[in-house]
Point group: C2
Chain length 413, copies 2
């Protein structure tokens, strides 16, 4: 684990308001890490609706399978998250561990096991000893309180160097409602639905179908437009919980995703997801630069996404950024290998607004000194204009540094 906080960490941390109907507690259960919190219990009031999106991995973790199954009910009373062990590729033992954890949590909270959601993150393939939750979860249920969102975000970290939270307050009908979110993730980040672990809570009275719809559309340009290392986790989980407690002060119950009253909420919800996703990029393992890749002029937006991802996942582009080198030749390479329509002779490329290539060749006005200076910035925007159509997309990533290799060369051992 790297210990120094990422230089790209946000400088300001938001005050996280309380969400009525949600209580949090954390503990050090000794799952893997010594002397740090590694278990989060979130308890939700009766009436809380749940939704979730998960990794598209063909080898998902046991908790992912557990959550998928429980979402059918749509009701949630508890969320148990542990860091240090992903409970992935653990076979029958893994399934038994999820069942046991849920029953321990259900007993502690006073609900049914199928109202308990689980997420695990950490090493893959090691059996998770769920008996460690016995006792701990009971204590946590007793001490759970509404306030410590930052502590909760800290308890779910693995190689993360800072806890990631985001919040928004927005009107639903005439009532104020709140959205709080947290996320963890620094490596094995290349979402194919959601990525890593992220949990969003709101007091808005939304049905689970509405919540699911918000999640599904919300992740496309946030978590799904993010890559650290092209490696999709077996554990990617994004869960959303709506306690509905804001109904008590007049928030309307929303049961259709197309409800016009949902407009401001949808925007705020998406902003929370986008904020969390950007924080994940800012905490990419070993990251020293936040990289925004914009592709425009593609034949379609899907094509733009594929080209943007090809650039964002290219080790050669990422190492060039680490070296503060505006190596647009490697961007050309990454466009070329994407397999999407591209015409070399129409291609333009800019770094932080400075156009370095135009119409398939070096921009005549390109000044190496000016662009070299721009590459020193901690935020690099690569913009590629294909000149073919109106397809546009944007993805976030980070640079590839020696620290990434160091972190991942020693993580398990």
């Amino acid at each position: 684990m790297s210990s120094a906080v990422s230089p790209l960490a946000p400088t300001e941390v938001p005050d996280m308001p309380v969400i009525a109907g949600v209580r949090l507690a954390t503990a050090a259960a000794g799952i893997r890490y010594k002397g740090r919190t590694d278990v989060l219990l979130a308890i939700m009031d009766k009436g809380t609706n749940a939704a979730g999106v998960f990794t598209q991995s063909k080898c998902p973790s046991a908790p992912v399978e557990w959550c998928r199954a429980q979402l059918k009910g749509g009701a949630a009373r508890a969320l148990v998250v542990n860091s240090g062990n992903a409970n992935a590729f653990t076979g029958k033992t893994g399934r038994q561990a999820t069942t046991l954890t849920a029953s321990i949590a259900a007993k502690a909270v006073g609900c049914k096991p199928n109202e308990v959601f689980l997420a695990s993150t950490g090493v893959i393939g090691e059996p998770l000893d769920a008996t460690k939750f016995d006792g701990v979860l009971g204590t946590l249920a007793d001490s759970a309180a509404p306030a410590d969102w930052m502590g909760a975000a800290r308890a779910i970290m693995t190689t993360d160097t800072f806890p990631k939270v985001a919040t928004a307050t927005v009107k639903l009908g005439k009532a104020k409602v709140t959205i709080n979110g947290m996320a963890k993730g620094a490596g094995m980040i290349a979402p194919d639905m959601a990525t890593m672990l992220s949990f969003v809570f709101t007091d808005a009275p939304l049905s689970s179908a509405v919540l699911q719809s918000l999640l599904k559309s919300g992740v496309q340009d946030t978590f799904n437009a993010l890559t650290i290392d092209s490696d999709t986790s077996t554990s990617d989980t994004l869960l959303a919980f709506a306690t509905g407690t804001a109904a008590a002060h007049g928030a309307p119950k929303i049961t259709r995703a197309s409800d016009p009253r949902l407009k401001a909420f949808t925007k705020a919800f998406r902003a929370v997801l986008a904020d969390l996703a950007e924080q994940v990029a800012r905490d990419g393992e070993g990251a020293r630069k936040l990289v925004e890749v914009i592709v425009e002029g593609a034949t379609t937006s899907i094509s733009a996404r594929r080209i943007a991802m090809s650039i964002a996942n290219s080790p050669l582009v990422k190492t060039a950024i680490a070296g503060e080198d505006a190596n647009w030749g490697r961007v050309v390479m990454a466009v070329g290998k994407a397999g999407e329509p591209a015409n070399r002779d129409k291609l333009s490329i800019s770094f932080n607004g400075i156009r370095v290539a135009k119409s398939g060749a070096r921009d005549p006005s390109y000044n190496e000194a000016e662009v070299s200076e721009a590459m020193k910035s901690p935020k690099i925007q690569i913009k590629v204009s294909l000149g073919l159509g109106k397809g546009r997309d944007r993805v976030l990533t980070c640079d590839l540094t020696k620290e990434y290799v160091a972190i991942n060369g020693d993580y398990r051992s």
Copy 2:
């Protein structure tokens, strides 16, 4: 450029026999590197047939486009290779540079420009000053001689740490024929047809159609089953030349790829390609481990290839290997993200013959000390058994080290 020779370099270098009808010469033209050879001229006798496969990049280099066009004629008299500048993404200037180079070479050799093949490797996006070839190529044509294959292989290097050659002698009919090959490449290696630059010469009397057929089938399990960093070059070029000079001592002329007399030759030809491809993996930028990924039990061989490539391209798998960590959890992750049929609970994984995971969980007999010892080997074999069908494939790659990042963070600047 890294200077120390890769620890994975072959310990024995083959004696490269002369191929009648091929003469070689190299020079330092100062294209980019100072004080080292950077131009290769190969001159072939009249009657030489040519074939080639190239990058599938949508943004190919000017020399790739030039070669594609000239292959229609099927005849070759000269090959000009320069290292240091790829003449890629150089627009109209790039096309003019290829035309000028070919006409200079044609004059020097005494042939038509459309019998001249070109390949360039090095930085992308910098204009190539083809006037530098003027004079040099004339001198080279005068001094060209049959012997110095190693010098030729050295002249085409960029970040390579050792020259790559391979040879085979085999019977065609009752006559002995020879196949000599060379390759360069260390980074931006993820072939989608051929990869990097490679040139194969033979005195066998093969038509260009036969040669093309041999190349096309030969690359599938050699150069196309190789990845260093998932980044497909804009310049990938594999050219084969058959002088036909062996006809003088009785080798039969082969004009059909299905000719049964071609059997031994096909095998030897493939072995030369496989040898060169493995040498490219052994010289992967910063590589300290040669990694062979075998996937078996897939639904099809295409599916096996995709899963093998997903493993071989995973930064997390590659950094784990660099850290001598048998992190099979990351192999599971890479299988899961490939998007191909896989059943977690049937999956088995072994490192260098030691099974670490079985039926979707840790192998009970798995001994950490034993596998840790095995991971110290410079050659690591990862074998994944999916247990679904008979699809099998094998790809080669290398580990991902801090040196890769260092090499590529400073290459252009």
